[in-house]
């Protein structure tokens, strides 16, 4: 199974390495077996099963290839749990719709839980049982591509371009899935972080919705009274990290400069995080923030203990009874007039292990064109990546989604901004926790420059500088 992942040009080096690996493995097994038989000459029979079992299982013994199905080619699609149970249902019935329409290709839909998603995909790829295609985390495609497990879809893009459909993808979305000269996955939805506020609390305090950072800080201060705080964020999970990016991008900064090099200590970043640090010093940030999960922060917001928080587009749906009290700020202007927030282009990727790349691509194209029901019936709360779907009245008639599409999507930036494209290191940055440690440092009132320097050191080791 390791062969499958290897590029053909590296064949001999690879074979040598396999041999080396085999030799080491053999030595280790021998030692272990000896440990087990250590001192019992009369125990030869007990030792046998120990030594025999691993041999059967050695990875070099390739499992017999499954015979291809006689009539229809199977395509296995793993879709993450992107929404409520309706979403899973909508996804399943879409796949059935595909199966009814297409001859020769039969797709299966498997809903994949988010908890431990990375281990799920790693074990699947590592053991040669990856699906044909899947959705996944924002930078999953590029990271697995880098490790030789994802198939580039340049031909799919060419096909889309020739049919004129490439223009249907929102500006920048296709570009944001390029790495090393290849497009590694197809966009389907955009996730983004937005500043939501409690209109009722604003009204009660007589505060106007802020339009820039100065007003934002003043508003948060004015809204802090008794057991109510102006601003809350999760710090103990990804939401803290997201806030870091929101602030840096809103001030024209970012972890990387335009040529894609690390630029953590640039003055815009320092200024952005100092802004948050000042708000913490003002006492207008909920003191539980550093240890809150995103849901804890939502709870504080929902109860009315906090007036502003950053969250995803589906935020208001969580509080059906409060929904009239929840509103969205227009994009804030930073001190230098910048606007910006973090967004991710979620995507569908094809695995190199697929035995039927053509059928898989056929399914991918169909899925991309026909997935509107994931929103209209599946209640997905992200923003569709295709303009034709985003133009549907379902989105345009809802003032909030319309506002997000018109005002926020254009200023959304990727984790790798200000650099263009994406790279495997972004997955490490998002996963490693360095950015949420940074957020927790600042929420606990630690020194901005020192905290940033600490983060910079970790980031440098991640990037390999």
């Amino acid at each position: 199974m390791f062969q499958k992942l290897q590029k053909p040009t590296q064949d001999s080096a690879h074979r040598r390495r396999i041999l080396q690996r085999k030799a080491i493995l053999g030595v280790i097994l021998a030692i272990l077996a000896m440990l087990f038989v250590a001192c019992g000459s009369d125990t030869a029979d007990t030792a046998e099963p120990d030594a025999a079992a691993p041999e059967v299982a050695a990875p070099e013994v390739a499992a017999p290839e499954e015979a291809a199905a006689p009539e229809a080619v199977e395509v296995e699609f793993w879709d993450m749990v992107w929404g409520p149970p309706e979403y899973v249902e909508a996804g399943g019935s879409l796949v059935e719709q595909f199966n009814a329409q297409s001859d020769g290709v039969h797709a299966t839909y498997q809903s994949t839980p988010w908890t431990n998603w990375y281990q799920t995909f790693l074990t699947a790829i590592g053991s040669g049982t990856a699906p044909d295609l899947s959705t996944g985390a924002g930078y999953q495609a590029v990271q697995f591509f880098d490790q030789g497990a994802i198939l580039e879809i340049d031909d799919v893009i060419a096909q889309l371009e020739s049919s004129g459909q490439a223009d249907d993808f929102l500006p920048g979305t296709l570009e944001r899935l390029q790495y090393d000269g290849h497009t590694v996955a197809l966009p389907w939805a955009i996730d983004i972080r937005l500043p939501w506020y409690r209109a009722d609390l604003f009204e009660a305090a007589g505060v106007e919705p802020p339009t820039n950072w100065e007003e934002f800080r003043a508003a948060a201060k004015a809204l802090t009274t008794g057991d109510q705080y102006g601003f809350v964020t999760g710090g103990a999970d990804n939401s803290g990290m997201h806030l870091m990016f929101v602030l840096m991008f809103n001030n024209g900064g970012g972890l990387f400069n335009e040529s894609g090099e690390l630029d953590v200590m640039n003055p815009r970043n320092v200024e952005a995080l100092t802004f948050l640090s000042d708000m913490v010093a003002d006492g207008s940030v909920h003191p539980g923030s550093a240890g809150f999960s995103n849901d804890d922060a939502r709870k504080a917001f929902g109860v009315g203990n906090a007036a502003i928080m950053f969250d995803n587009p589906g935020h208001p749906n969580r509080y059906p009874e409060q929904i009239d009290n929840i509103a969205l700020l227009s994009p804030l202007e930073g001190p230098h007039g910048d606007k910006g927030t973090i967004s991710w282009v979620n995507n569908v990727m094809i695995y190199k292990q697929t035995e039927n790349p053509e059928a898989t691509k056929q399914f991918l194209l169909w899925w991309s064109e026909n997935q509107k029901a994931l929103w209209t019936e599946g209640n997905n709360t992200q923003i569709p990546a295709r303009a034709s779907i985003a133009a549907d009245p379902y989105f345009q008639d809802n003032p909030l989604t319309k506002m997000i599409i018109d005002e926020y999507i254009p200023v959304g930036k990727s984790t790798g901004a200000l650099g263009s494209g994406i790279s495997p290191v972004l997955n490490d940055i998002e996963g490693e926790g360095v950015m949420f440690t940074l957020a927790q440092d600042i929420l606990q009132g630690k020194d901005v420059v020192e905290s940033l320097q600490k983060a910079e050191a970790t980031l440098k080791s991640l990037v390999g500088e």
Partner: protein, 283 residues
């Protein structure tokens, strides 16, 4: 005389009820997180996210309805029972034999085996996932309950072996010796004389093995791919979506998984008392 005995009896009675009250109070305090779970299972996720009280203001059964009617909870439950039950059976069979060997025989191999059991506990499972997956795929066990059964068996084995050893240590060997003198083989002596006495130990081992594997999530989520094989912990995790978690249903499902287990334990709890490990590890 009679008066005194009565008073003594009453005092004893009073003491017992005093102890009962104290224990109950401690049990309530210790189980506060459990009570939190149960209370929240009676409110919707919206209410959980917007209410500032601890006790539900308008308790409802909506989560329970949803979980039992609109999800496959009962199939998760049946899967859990099957997986854990089979693992428990296997553990009892293998560990009774090994525990007997550890109890009655001494040799360096046996000592090494006994220490090896400890080593097995130390190896972190996370690291073993991919090789395990390759192994079980070659055995054609992936996406079958047997993969999980096998792994839970191995996880439960060491502790069960020590428990059996301690139990057999307490059974006088004169019993087997009598059988041996009558001409029985060692195997027969073990099977016909010692094993029938081991009922309580088996019960204790079942309880522990059950507890070790009933809530396991990582292994189950990696090796059980299709929804109709999910065990309870995996089923519960599917209430956690990308952008939100249905806490109400999750709490209801967890409560529903707890109650039958609780009731079952009421019946078998007296066997927990046979679960002494003794100095089994030393071999």
């Amino acid at each position: 005389m009679t008066y005194n005995r009565d008073r003594n009896k009453r005092r004893k009675q009073l003491r017992r009820w005093g102890l009962f009250a104290a224990t109950l109070a401690i049990a309530l305090v210790i189980n506060l997180p459990v009570i939190t779970m149960i209370l929240n299972s009676f409110r919707t996720t919206e209410e959980i996210l917007t209410s500032s009280t601890i006790v539900p203001t308008n308790p409802s059964l909506v989560n329970y309805n949803y979980v039992s009617l609109n999800t496959s909870f009962w199939s998760y439950f049946a899967n859990s029972i099957f997986v854990v039950g089979s693992a428990t059976l296997l553990v009892i069979m293998a560990a009774a034999l090994a525990g007997y060997a550890l109890s009655r025989f001494r040799s360096r191999v046996i000592t090494i085996y006994s220490r090896g059991l400890l080593l097995v506990q130390m190896f972190p499972l996370v690291l073993a996932l991919i090789p395990l997956f390759i192994l079980l795929r070659n055995l054609k066990l992936v996406n079958t309950p047997y993969s999980v059964i096998l792994l839970y068996t191995v996880v439960g084995l060491p502790f069960a072996t020590w428990m059996f050893k301690a139990f057999f240590d307490g059974i006088p060997r004169e019993l087997e010796e009598a059988a041996l003198i009558d001409g029985a083989s060692r195997l027969r002596a073990f099977g016909l004389v010692v094993l029938p006495l081991a009922g309580p130990a088996m019960a204790a081992v079942s309880i522990f093995t059950f507890l070790f594997s009933y809530n396991e999530y990582l292994v189950a989520t990696i090796f059980l791919r299709s929804k109709d094989l999910y065990t309870i912990p995996v089923g519960i995790a599917s209430f956690m979506q990308q952008f939100e978690t249905d806490w109400g249903s999750l709490m209801a499902a967890a409560t529903m998984a707890m109650v039958p287990t609780f009731v079952m334990f009421l019946f078998v709890q007296k066997y927990m008392m046979y679960g002494a490990v003794g100095s089994g590890v030393k071999g």
